[in-house]
Amino acid sequence: MDFLATLVNHSPALIIAVPLLGAFLTPLIGKINGKVRNVFVILVVACTSFLIALLAYNVFTNGALSADAVTNNIQTYVFGAKDIGTPAVRIAFEVDAMNAFMALIAAILPLAAVVYSWAFMKDETGQDKYYTLILLMTAGMLGMMLTGDMFNFFVFLEITSIATAALIAFRIDQKYSVQAAFKYIVISSIGALFVLFAVALFYGQYNALNMAVIGDSIKYTMLDKIALVLLIASLALKTGIAPMHMWLPEAYGRAPSSVTVVIIGTTLGSLYAMFRMIFTVYGKHIWDLGKTMALQLPQLLGILLVALAILTIILGVFMALKQSDLKKMIGFAAVAEIGYMLLAVGSAIATISLNESGVTVMTSAGQMALKGGIFHVLNDALDVGLLFLVAGAVYFAAKETSLNKLGGLARNMKYTTVFFLIGLFAVSGLPPLNGFASKLMIYESTYAINPILSIAAILCSILLLATFVKVFHSVFLGPKIPKFSNVKEVPKSMLIGMAIIAVIIIFIGLFPNLIVENIVKPASEALMNYGLYLGGI
């Protein structure tokens, strides 16, 4: 077996091991020199991203790099006992197209963040701790996205939460940072404990922790219903879905911008977990209609999710519009964006029904909504991520984030202004950038399901555009303000960090079909064909 195939075979383990080991080596390397440490961290993240790219390519192509490792577009990696017959003292990573899709997002964000951090954090103390925590958060986030084990998911969720809370409070001299971190850790701990409770309910009933084994055994008893409720509600809390979203703008707004970019990935990791639980662990009962229930589960669940999604979009957009702090405003916009993904996926679930032949199907509009929702996960991560990096650049240059005090920065920060415009166009769903393609898919499909949903989504998107026009006017346009006359463009590493994301946004915007056909469609099919995942172990 050649080196590349071996690397691909072990990539699920290496993707976690490399940043984890890197995290604990960082303080040691920091003793040598700050620059050496920064290079080391960038190399660790770049290496992780490369491994993710290899794994994703192998999964999407069903084994082009290593045919032995992949079956039915699923790559499994078992830590511990290999055979199912032995006592199941083991953890399995099961990577299908959906996991690979999420891991690709997690490959981009930390890379942009650490490159950006080089200059952004250069005057801060405690950088060894900062980079250690960033790498720990990355390892935790990737673990959440790749694991096929419920308890292991909980462990990675906790690793991510603790690292994230510490990073939100990184600027400990600012009291609001500590306050936001405290709120985050309270909310995260509650969410994680309810996830653990659900895991215990599964283990008590089925003597299993593996998602595929649980999904195969699940009977939809009252305990399973309770576990479903606990999982959806707690993961919705971790994702920042309204009315449980209040922690999110504070956490996003108070953390250093380079950290916020990675937190976006962890938030989307929780959203992915919710989709995995609904479509795979409870897949049998989502897709097996008309046998056990008077009222069908997909319709009930779909309507609930859509209602929460609309509430999330409206609250996010309205609150964003009134904010006068740049980062908090983007935080509320991020809440609204999560609503769009949930709207699409909730609508897709609601369309699952029996056709004339008595077979359970998701309608064509539902399938399009699911694809649009998944596509929007990628777009949201990039668009909101870029806007936060721009906000960080504004803070770095002007030491100010109040929209009432800023103004005229486009004169001094030309590149940052261009990056902001790219983010503005993308997040508001303006053509030709990536946000337009995914929102178009969501609008069209939800219109076919219920026009009111689509109309509400479009109106809120217009308000989102108005919000960012306000930011553009307040921060970048207008006459030169004396206080900011000496403001200079941010250093190159920060520009490169923003450019990494901006280039990907433009690429996806120009070639959306390439992304949808090769990455998004396999991911949505992986969610719909739950049987393949259950049979993967």
Binding site: V186, I190, V229, L295, L315, F436, A437, M441, I481
Partner: protein, 119 residues
């Protein structure tokens, strides 16, 4: 010869519609050119740095440039006033109290349990 470009140029089908940014780009350029040509038919008598270019603020005096920048919270004032009834409620929700955040979680947990567990 240029077959490798095919995947890049394919149109995204969205059930009832489609989206092709390359086509949109061409359309944008054509529309821009048409608009530019129409602009060329405008008055040639426009003179820079004369009374024509001075700001007219309903008869009010023009302040120094630095003072003329409209601050963020002044934008959309009318919208905020009309939607005050909603904002009053939204502001009460966002009170910064962690206990209230947890309460919302408990409420959602209860709703989900009633809908999914009992119905």
């Amino acid at each position: 010869m240029l077959e490798f470009l095919d995947p890049f140029l394919k149109t995204l089908q969205t059930d009832s519609g489609f989206w092709n940014p390359i086509l949109w780009g061409f359309a944008f350029v054509i529309i821009f050119l048409i608009a530019y040509i129409i602009r060329g038919f405008g008055k040639q008598a426009y003179k820079e740095k004369t009374e024509q270019t001075k700001a007219f603020l309903s008869g009010n005096p023009e302040y120094e440039k630095e003072q003329m920048h409209i601050k963020g919270s002044n934008l959309y004032w009318g919208f905020m006033e009309i939607m005050k009834f909603a904002y009053d409620k939204f502001n009460k929700m966002h009170n910064g109290n962690t206990g209230d955040y947890v309460l919302w979680f408990v409420i959602i947990l209860g709703i989900f349990f009633i809908v999914l567990g009992v119905l």
